[in-house]
Subunit: 275 residues, 2 copies
């Protein structure tokens, strides 16, 4: 356990110099009745897959459970927080070798509760074809790597355009994912999300948890690519991640319908209190 | 000045958590007659452009010159070394805010002198169209970011296939660049390199220095995309970076011609001693 300002990684850590590592983010809730980490085992499984894809696995699942347990024990701030698991390839030079592993916890960012009431997005070209990742594991499709510079630049571009966040668009015009969130679409009285196989889109634990629960409650659920032309046919669109379920009220210049009851339902399916 | 094992970055540094920052790598030579950093001002200019593209600029060029001067003064190991300039967006949480800046020097990796005698490469799909970066600055084309996880994974894939390194191929079949090197082609008694505008290919300071000098000596120089079908027409192919000029003797299953005199000439144009 170290203070937030304590230096931890050397100048040679490949997590810094090459973004060579992976992470996963979970929602933590501290209530009077106890603490919980939402969908922790699913996040840990995805984290483990990320590590394997980078040749950093298999990771010691029990050691991570223990480390997270220690962090959660020490975290007492009531309300929501974000827990991050981090694994880098470790220092390229220096006495110590081998991966660097650490977890962090921070309070849920203030922006999250604002965006849960509604957000706007712009679409930005990601330059990949929607099925461009077929048979190309080195492209790290579906791996939550530390190399997020483009995602961060896309969010800054969205902010520059007066929008809250960006949706990546494939070279063939498909809506892929948010910069740090999966997408849930409502259309034809069904819920949809983007195919993750071969598309490079990251599997979203939150989206999967929501759709799984929705399906259990009798709502039809499917996967498909949607294009900009489909926007006018949508009954709703949401960003979903560990930071919440956020209804998208406008994409570029297109206003989208928003049914608060449905947002409430999805949030409930995902285990989120509303902000 | 800190020891190589000294922890330097916090767990919240965006350089670690998001690969959000940039770097540049220069070759250092320590000889009896003195020390030098090859093409330093060109590297510094590219680094400055990277920082600007990330919204981390303008950087204080004189402060960087001074920092590099201090590092070079302290570096006395005879022979070649690699100097890296690093800039991250700094800690997302914690008391200190603002970018993290540091330089490192390490001896030239042993592999460099071996690869300068000849190397093999495989081509790997990069899933981008050759002109996919047009009007998309958020894709950070030409920006040397810290987000190199795919480049590192591609090199590991090449190694797994028994090859030294990988050449990225665009979705439309063009040879783009090495994982950490630019490409120089010899064909039709001219030297060529890949267009960097709109292709996402990083401008290579070493390639540009070599081609500039070659042109000054009367060799024709141009830019074009080449495909796998062009391989059999090549008179030679080289990886070029701060780690040297490396003749590629085989790409996938195609053996390439290699004229050692031309490699020698290119290395000389780049200011490299031969290993």
């Amino acid at each position: 356990m170290v203070r937030p300002d304590a230096p931890l990684l050397t100048a040679f850590d490949l997590g810094v110099t090459r973004g060579d590592g992976c992470f996963d983010t979970c929602r933590v809730v501290v209530e009077a009745r106890g603490k919980r980490v939402d969908h922790f085992e699913a996040h840990l499984a995805r984290f483990s897959n990320s590590a394997k894809a980078l040749g950093l696995g298999p990771i010691d699942l029990d050691a991570w459970r223990q480390l997270v347990g220690q962090a959660i024990s020490a975290w007492t701030l009531p309300g929501e927080a974000l827990l991050k698991l981090n694994l880098t390839r470790g220092p390229e030079y220096g006495l110590r070798t081998g991966p660097t592993a650490f977890v962090t916890i921070v309070p849920m960012p203030d922006a999250a509760s604002r965006l849960r009431r509604g957000m706007t997005a712009v679409t930005l070209n990601r330059a990949y074809l929607s099925l461009g990742f077929t048979d190309s594991p080195w492209l790290l499709g579906g791996v939550k790597t530390l190399s997020y510079a483009i995602n961060m630049a896309a969010r800054r571009e969205a902010n520059r355009r007066g929008s809250d966040d960006a949706i990546f668009l494939s070279a063939d015009g498909c809506l892929l994912e948010g910069t740090t969130a999966g997408l849930i679409f409502a259309m034809d009285d069904k819920l949809w999300t983007t195919p993750t196989e071969n598309s490079g889109v990251l599997r979203s634990i939150t989206v999967e948890a929501i759709l799984h629960e929705a399906e259990r409650e009798g709502i039809s659920v499917s996967r498909a690519f949607f294009t900009l032309a489909d926007l006018t046919r949508l009954q709703g669109l949401w960003f979903a991640s560990a930071t919440g379920v956020k209804p998208v009220l406008r994409v570029d210049d297109t206003n989208l319908p928003h049914e608060p009851a449905l947002t409430h339902k999805l949030a409930e399916c995902g285990g989120f209190e509303l902000g």
